[in-house]
Symmetry: C2
Subunit: 156 residues, 2 copies
């Protein structure tokens, strides 16, 4: 497997997510993309911090992408802090003041405003860390050993 | 990234580990390889079950490989169940009776004997699930975005 090619992700939101994940790694947070915390919900980036902190980052490529999001408030129930990640062109005045804000590009990102902390209950945190672990390990196995995943095999 | 090539891992133990991980996936366990539970220890396979079970599987390619293992008893402190994974040629009478046994090849595996259950204390289970999550997510990011990892970057 060629690990040296640096290809940009196809979608604008995925490119922001890549920069976000790189920056979070520098903050000692590990990350996964497109985790499903509950049926019908799918977060762009879920991050797990060194003390078990759970952050959600939604990546918005522009005004229309943000305006069409009907679900973001549901994500608040599944994390300790919630952030938007946008590029330098995004009209940040659209975003609710009580959310976190990350300025991102495909190569890096910077936290401009921390989201307020609303700590998960211990039982839910335990569930989320397990979901995170299962998500990450399943996708890792799929990359390391694709033959383990038949065409009909679903994700966890 | 080419996800269709099915190349055998280089080392005999890694080939057994691949079959073990495939079989565990069929039991709804997710897996990582070469996790470090504590300094100086490195398990071949750590598996996380649907109810948060933590299993360790040590893969032994032959008698010499098993005889040279001085650390396996330390792994018992970091899991709910411990297993050996060996191939059909392995002299299984060498293995302690009070451990689990998995018959494996590079393509699949079968649990022949469950290891006795010695449940982790809740605080240690929490630590292990977080370690598992961090290990899996870091390696997943390294495969998805190798450029995020400079030459000097260490694993978590």
């Amino acid at each position: 497997m060629d690990q040296t090619v640096d290809t940009l992700p196809a979608m604008p939101g995925q490119r922001l997510a890549r920069g976000v994940c790189r920056a979070l790694r520098g903050m000692d947070f590990v990350t996964v993309e497109e985790l499903v915390p509950a049926p019908g919900l799918r977060v762009d980036v879920m991050a797990l911090g060194p003390r078990g902190e759970v952050w959600v980052v939604e990546c918005k490529s522009g005004r229309a992408d943000y305006r069409s999001d009907r679900k973001w408030q549901h994500y608040l129930d599944w994390c300790d802090r919630f952030f938007w990640a946008v590029d330098a062109e995004f009209p940040v005045e659209l975003l609710p003041a009580e959310t976190g804000l990350i300025l991102a590009d495909p190569y890096d990102a910077e936290v401009l405003r921390m989201g307020p902390e609303t700590p998960l209950a211990p039982a839910r945190r335990k569930v989320m860390v397990q979901k995170f672990a299962r998500h990450a390990a399943t996708r890792l196995q799929a990359l390391r050993d694709p033959a383990a995943f038949g065409s009909g095999a679903g994700w966890v």
